[in-house]
């Protein structure tokens, strides 16, 4: 039952083959056994979990269940959850028990899903390796010497290790897709505005987007049905009719036009990753998809543009952590300014402080035009590249990351090297497009590799269709690490 997908668990619960309490108990036992070595989850609350499971069973018995009532999940520690510590991977919020819940959490609670715990993450979602966590690094379940990816590294590792059938995550520059790729699971970042940011601790507000991580595309579709939806409390939530993201899953791929951006297969891509992606493309061709070459000429510029825009927005967002209303406050200070300076120096980790300082500088007097405005113009060029490419294809395929997961400690001393590994994911956030990662094979060293599927705005159902058809013909998503 631990190996089951979200879809399978939903059926088992409906058939009364298993109860929500039995499921929660089994997963909690597995977490107790495996989490100490992985560090994927940072907060558990057995009593609360079992109470939620009992409530789900009562709801099933009363006959008013949602398809996912009683299904367990873990939330990335970035989503505020009433009564749970919401630490966001930071010492700054390590004492913060949220007095309210994020829209995403409310939606999952309303469906009757059962929270098993809270997933580790890079501090304030800033990182590509999950090494920037106050709680320490997360280990990749496939190889504990490897990073799981970041920032939703705990979410991805938890699903890969089958500590939960599904997890929530967020993606500002690749933070759902890259850990999903490195951990051999499926994850989707929807179009910007599809999932409400209300109660999601803000990093870079024009880029942040929540989404699910699960074993399969079908599970991601089911979960996106719960997570997505208009929320007036998020000023950039899009007002659209609710969609059923499972509606196109089984559609044949004959006639589908897939675009391969030549810049994604150029220098810098590891040969084993290229081999895996080419294999995946061949599988889709065998199902009738037609391949066209496209170009995204400004791809390389996504790195500098992102590392201006995201830190700029972060420096503004994180100014709220001042030691006054919530979170950490330094124990000693002589006046108000020193209280701020010591609180923030002690409460934030090194990468967060670096990004706040970069952001502060690029927004400071006299530099705004040279950096922030310039980056926003390049952002437009990147979005225009995609616009042109989508005139010629339905989805774009490529790698998620240039290599399989690197080793823990390999890049942590060199922020710029870490930033460069985000090359294939950043431009999707800058354009606001949906992107996903689907397990597609393994590197020469045995670590998983994901195929990235990028869709046009609001084409999640189409992307999930492509991913599902791929998974119907392959079993990469069924492979699990030996633990």
């Amino acid at each position: 039952m631990i190996e089951a997908t979200l879809k399978e668990l939903s059926v088992q619960l409906a058939n009364k083959d298993v109860s929500a309490v039995e499921l929660a108990t089994a997963y909690l036992a597995r977490i107790d056994a495996l989490n100490p070595a992985l560090n994927a989850l940072v907060t558990l609350d057995r009593e609360r979990t079992l109470a939620a499971a009992a409530a789900a069973d009562a709801r099933r018995a009363a006959g008013d269940a949602h398809a996912l009532t009683g299904v367990p999940l873990v939330h990335k520690d970035i989503f505020c959850q009433q009564g749970w510590k919401t630490g966001c991977g930071s010492k700054m919020l390590d004492n913060f028990v949220s007095p309210y819940s994020a829209h995403v959490v409310e939606r999952c609670d309303a469906a009757g899903m059962v929270t098993l715990g809270r997933a580790n993450m890079d501090e304030f979602a800033m990182g590509s390796s999950n090494e920037n966590s106050f709680h320490g690094a997360v280990k990749n379940p496939w190889d504990t010497a490897a990073i799981p990816g970041g920032s939703s590294g705990g979410s991805a590792a938890a699903v890969a290790a089958r500590l939960a059938p599904v997890a929530t995550g967020t993606d500002t520059g690749g933070s759902i897709r890259q850990p999903a790729s490195h951990c051999g699971i499926t994850g989707i970042k929807p179009t910007y505005g599809v999932v409400s940011r209300f109660g999601m601790v803000a990093y870079a507000s024009s880029l942040d987007q929540g989404g699910p991580l699960a074993q399969t595309a079908e599970d991601c579709a089911l979960m996106l049905n719960v997570m997505a939806g208009f929320d007036k409390r998020d000023s950039t939530s899009v007002e659209r009719a609710a969609e059923d993201y499972t509606r196109e899953l089984d559609k044949p791929l004959a006639g589908l036009k897939v675009g391969l951006p030549r810049e994604y297969f150029a220098e810098g891509l590891a040969p084993d990753v290229a081999r895996v992606i080419e294999g995946a493309v061949a599988e889709l061709k065998a199902q009738g998809a037609e391949v066209v070459e496209v170009s995204l000429p400004n791809t390389q510029l996504s790195i500098p543009a992102y590392y201006v825009i995201a830190p700029a927005e972060a420096s503004a967002n994180l100014s709220r952590f001042d030691g006054v209303r919530y979170g950490y406050r330094a124990p000693e200070y002589k006046d108000l300014v020193e209280m701020y300076e010591k609180t923030r120096a002690q409460g934030f980790g090194e990468e967060v402080k670096r990004r706040i300082m970069v952001g502060t500088y690029v927004l400071s007097h006299g530099y705004y035009d040279a950096y922030y405005l310039k980056a926003q113009k390049i952002r437009r060029l990147i979005a225009n590249d995609f616009k042109a490419a989508f005139e010629r294809c339905d989805v774009i395929l490529g790698p998620v990351a240039p290599t399989a997961a690197f080793n823990i400690g390999e890049k942590s001393g060199d922020p710029v090297q870490m930033y460069l590994s985000d090359i294939y994911t950043l431009s999707v956030n800058l354009a606001g497009l949906p992107g996903m990662s689907v397990p597609a094979g393994f590197a020469d060293n045995g670590r998983p590799i994901g195929l990235q599927i990028i869709g046009n705005y609001f084409s999640e159902a189409k992307m999930l269709n492509v991913a599902h058809r791929f998974q119907c013909a392959t079993d990469w998503h069924r492979r699990a690490p030996a633990l």
């Binding site: 500098p304 979170g327 200070y333 006046d335 500088y361 690029v362 400071s364 710029v416």
Partner: protein
């Protein structure tokens, strides 16, 4: 472009993050590396390109000017570092 020690001190002060003298050197080196990457942008001609602030070109929604929030003061102050009589306490700023 290369930042100086004075720049780091000024940025730290604007960001309200204490950077000790011992940390200035390492911080300077890392920020300069990051700006080395960022400077790639300057080679691109962006004349006439409209800046893109946001993925969706929509205007902000307006709402009716009515009270929608209820009082959560106790719950919100329960997580504050220091409160007294319903007020958040900070070091004295006015003598």
């Amino acid at each position: 472009m290369s930042l100086t020690h004075q720049d780091v001190a000024r940025i730290a002060q604007l960001a309200r993050i204490e950077v000790t003298d011992a940390q200035v050197e390492a911080t300077l080196a890392q920020l300069n590396n990051i700006f080395g990457l960022i400077e790639q942008m300057q080679a691109v001609d962006t004349t006439g390109i409209e800046p893109m602030a946001h993925p969706q070109d929509v205007s902000l929604r307006l709402r009716d000017d009515v009270v929608t929030e209820t009082d959560h003061r106790e719950a919100y102050q329960a997580v504050a570092p220091q409160v007294e009589k319903g007020l958040f306490l900070v070091p004295k700023v006015i003598e």
